[in-house]
Subunit: 144 residues, 2 copies
DNA sequence: ATGTATTTTGATAATCATTCTCAATTAGGA
DNA sequence: TCCTAATTGAGAATGATTATCAAAATACAT
């Protein structure tokens, strides 16, 4: 259900913006939505290449950017030089636990932290648009 | 006091690591510690260039990295492609409010948020090494 | 279905901050 | 002072992303 919904949202975005629905965009959308949540451009490109060797890297980059614009994906940079995208439904938000050992990314959500963030922003007169919270360390497996 | 202490920490680091104290490193250290907290490599380089035109960009990059390694500075990337460094004393930590309008960076600290982060990490079996919390939005001035 | 204006694509070049290379210079201990 | 290893500056290299542009594909009106 979720997945088809996201595809729908993207297709509506395409129409609304006067863009065109193309074979490549559909293929990338399909791969993206059926992949694990956190994919780097490079990873997705390699995966795609196996089945669709003619799709160019630039197209993958462009299309992922469109996903972000349409609201079905979120662009992330963890500081390793790679841009990652995760697919999210509107309104969803979560933060990340990044393992510096194996690169695993876990997600979490904490309502109280979000509230505290809002109040911090408030006390500084800031109008928050988005936030990023990342915890770096070793996951349970890498600690051993 | 703070400033001389940081310089001292860096000089000790240089000795401890078997590195050498050079004219360039002292100059950059001096500029860095007397600058505003959040400086991009480019900004610092330009500032430096006015008085010391012979110092190369690569040297500034390398030296700032050393500051980070020595513990007197912290490397930050806010996603605009620029690497920034802020000088910090050991143990100090704070998070950032980044204005997407004018680029101003404000700092804050919130003990409760830190505690909640620790408990989140704990419940996932993570051993936290560091964290990054950034709130993006419009500052009081840009809201108007 | 066909034409047409517009968008999209793929390949390649360009970008841009940072890092690397390397010969020349410099620091610091013997 | 001498010697060895580290450091420097200039320019080349890197690497992910973005821009360019001719060719191909799409949407829509005819």
């Amino acid at each position: 259900m979720k997945r088809e919904k996201k595809a729908e949202v993207f297709r509506e975005f395409i129409v609304r913006e006067g863009l065109k629905s193309t074979r490549q965009r559909e293929i990338i959308l399909d791969f993206f939505l059926s992949s694990k949540r956190h994919m780097s451009v490079e990873e997705l490109y390699r995966k795609l290449r196996a089945r669709h060797p003619s799709i160019g890297y630039a197209t993958v980059c462009r299309t992922l950017k469109l996903f972000a614009q349409s609201g079905i994906a979120h662009e992330m940079r963890f500081g390793d030089g790679q841009t990652r995208y995760e697919h999210i439904a509107e309104g969803e938000h979560h933060d990340h636990l990044v393992c510096t050992g194996c690169g695993t990314i876990a997600e979490f959500e904490n309502k109280t932290i979000e509230e505290l963030q809002a109040s911090v922003a408030d006390s500084h007169g800031f109008l928050i648009h988005s936030h990023k919270l990342e915890l770096y360390g070793l996951c349970a497996r890498c600690r051993k």
